[in-house]
């Protein structure tokens, strides 16, 4: 069993998103909403620019936890609220930082709380991953 204490940072990573990342995610996921790759359409619906798919942000934010777990356990539950959009600049892209911290420890695993930041602001709320850890 992995020794865990509430407040421990178990993993962190940063991700550089570009327009290419959004096109790649669109193809892989089947979400071809044009606000994720067309500036003109994003502008028409009142957005500040092309946005990353919320599900792309959710998908990458759990990866530090997946890597930390490896084959020692599995993700049992993963939930997020989408609180702020991630605008991806056509030239400079967008940088996201993920910090994964132990929120609670229970008999068969733990709740890992994610902080996902874009600049100074968080973009996901109540981002929680419940993991089951294999007994030693």
């Amino acid at each position: 069993m992995i020794e865990l204490a509430v407040g421990d940072v178990v993993a962190e990573n940063s991700y550089h998103l570009t327009r290419d990342s959004l096109v790649r995610y669109a193809g892989a996921s089947g979400d071809f909403n044009a606000i994720h790759y067309r500036d003109d359409i994003a502008g028409e619906v009142g957005l500040d620019g092309v946005l990353a798919h919320g599900m792309l942000t959710m998908g990458l934010a759990v990866q530090p936890v997946v890597d930390w777990l490896g084959a020692r356990g599995t993700v049992r539950d993963y939930q997020v609220k989408f609180t702020r959009p991630v605008v991806v600049d056509p030239v400079h892209g967008a940088d996201l930082a993920v910090v994964a911290k132990v929120g609670a420890v229970d008999a068969d695993g733990a709740r890992i709380d994610l902080t996902v930041s874009f600049g100074d602001l968080t973009v996901l709320g109540k981002a929680q991953v419940r993991v089951a850890l294999a007994s030693a």
Binding site: Y15, S21, R24, Y25, G27, A28, S29, G30, D31, V45, G54, M55, L56, M58, G59, L60, V62, Q63, V66, D67, G70, A71, T74, V75, R76, D77, Y78, Q79, V80, K81, F82, K126, V129
Partner: protein
Amino acid sequence: MNPELQGRAFPPTEPYLVGREKVREFSRAVFATSPLNLDVEAARAAGYEDVVAPPTFAVVVQEKTLAQLLAEPDGGIDFTRVVHGSQQFTYTRPIIAGDELTATLSVTGVKTLGGHAMVTAESSIVDASGDHVVTAISTLVVRGDE
């Protein structure tokens, strides 16, 4: 939005066969680096039949149920006004390449908040044996007229 959507059940989607290359493609798109997602031998060494899909891969199957919801003739949901509010996945086991998955949607909540409407769509995803794999829950916010 039509409040009578609440409690409505939908027919199961056509079976979705999870392909190994699709798992790899999705894994790369979400910046996954775990060998379990990419390398068949690593996945087998960890006790899985084939590569393991990332935790959010279930959205690919769930999406077919959300399409049913948005296409509901009396639903009154304007797709261009829909914003994703929250998302949850509750797993019995991970999705593995080779799984044949079927999703069944039910609408578990409809409410109005100010000018906006919120719908909670719960999609239960089972394998070819009918055993539960994951439940995907989305809350969609339908923005009212500004």
